[in-house]
């Protein structure tokens, strides 16, 4: 049986010697539990304009993924997990019920056949919206009244979500991050994104999309430490009905992003078979 194995992780265990911890910067403004740890269940922070403040360093939650038959991930070998929708954006669909348009189904099958070696990320190209939020890699939200900036550690890329009621640019140059505008609906930031390049993949398995894709993300910070992102992917050229999922993320308190440039010491591409 063919196996597709995506290298996502090797995990480190230092045994009892955990002295060499990544230095975090203390944040005295964080609410804490009696044992001194940041209280992730504390109430949602408020921005100065009264909106919920989504700002912080976030990491999508690791959770089990139901993989298609014959597909392995490196997590099944190393015992590690990955965000479910990072591996398969259609993970909530029953097998054979993914609403592919015929050509998209064939293209997806071809990518599976090629064992993911054409994945843009495997060639140090970016991961686009919405997949980049599902990665097992932190991202940082910086919220202002007029624009929300998302800094993604993966590829050290940024994204701007404009809240100033502007209209999307007509016939925009296709982008990996798309063009995002947002508005508040109660405690939820609703973000509409269009203008995508077809080069990006929706997940590691290789689900496709067209440049007509419309992504809606509903960001809701449930409390201090928990963010929910309800995602709807509408792309009638590729899928006969919308793909929907909810990605959950947890705050990494007192954590900062690190630099990441994929081309710094890339050695894998020459070894693909």
């Amino acid at each position: 049986m063919r196996s597709i194995v995506y290298c996502t992780a090797l995990i480190l265990v230092l045994g009892s010697n955990a002295s060499a911890q990544w230095a975090r910067t203390p944040d005295n403004t964080l609410p804490r539990t009696p044992d001194g740890k940041p209280n992730l269940a504390a109430k949602t922070p408020q921005a100065r304009d009264g909106k919920p403040d989504l700002s912080g360093v976030w990491q999508s939650d690791i959770n089990p993924t139901a993989l298609p038959p014959g597909v392995q991930t490196v997590e099944s070998i190393t015992g590690f997990g990955a965000p479910r929708y990072f591996v398969d954006v259609t993970a909530d669909f029953k097998p054979n019920e993914v609403p592919f348009q015929p050509a998209a189904g064939a293209q997806f099958a071809q990518r599976m056949q090629n064992q993911g070696k054409d994945d843009p990320a495997a060639h140090c190209q970016p991961t686009g919206v919405p997949a980049i939020t599902n990665l097992p890699i932190p991202f940082k939200i910086v919220q202002t009244p007029g624009v929300v900036i998302v800094l993604y550690e993966d590829s050290s890329v940024f994204r701007q979500i404009f809240l100033d009621a502007r209209k999307p640019v007509e016939d925009a140059q296709p982008r990996w991050m798309g063009y995002s505008t947002g508005k508040w609906e109660g405690d939820t930031l609703v973000v509409d994104s269009v203008g995508f390049t077809e080069k990006s993949w929706l997940d590691r398995l290789g689900h496709t999309h067209s440049n007509a894709m419309h992504v809606t993300e509903r960001f809701r910070r449930r409390d201090l430490g928990h963010l929910e992102i309800e995602v709807t992917i509408e792309d009638p050229k590729t899928y006969t009905r919308p793909i929907k999922y909810t990605q959950k993320a947890t705050l990494l308190p007192e954590e900062d992003l690190l630099e990441y440039f994929c081309t710094e010491n890339e050695k894998d591409i020459e070894h693909y078979r």
Binding site: T8, G15, A122, D268
Partner: protein, 116 residues
């Protein structure tokens, strides 16, 4: 914390070809997208070959408490890994054990998750 999922693992490595090798560290590359280290392995005839092992990203390893100086040149380690399909002397490391102390530096077990 998971590492960068930057490459297509099965296009490069064969999980059905595990190798276990022991030798002294000759070099450590602490750079993205993946950290690498190299060891000199002596075969039964006494011939020495250099092997390279790929790990997770330095960012992952850093957050999990590992530093760029944790594994030092000259230290003898035993490595369990998946070999490259190309047949070259490279592999994807699963578990790295310091021979002098028996301490396991790497494992994929979930106890290694630094998720908070």
């Amino acid at each position: 914390m998971p590492a960068l999922a930057h490459h297509a693992f099965s296009a490069e490595y064969d999980a059905e070809k595990p190798v276990k090798l022991t030798g002294a560290v000759t070099k450590v590359e602490w750079e993205n997208p993946h950290a690498w280290f190299y060891i000199d392995v002596k075969d039964s005839a006494g011939k020495v070959e250099n092997w390279g092992f790929e790990m997770g990203s330095p960012n992952l390893l850093t957050r999990a408490g590992w530093g760029r100086n944790t594994l030092k040149v000259g230290e003898v380690v035993s490595v369990e890994a998946s070999r490259a399909k190309s047949g070259a002397n490279i592999a994807n490391a699963k578990v790295v054990t310091l021979v002098s102390t028996g301490q396991k530096l790497f494992t994929g077990s979930s106890q290694g998750q630094a998720t908070r």
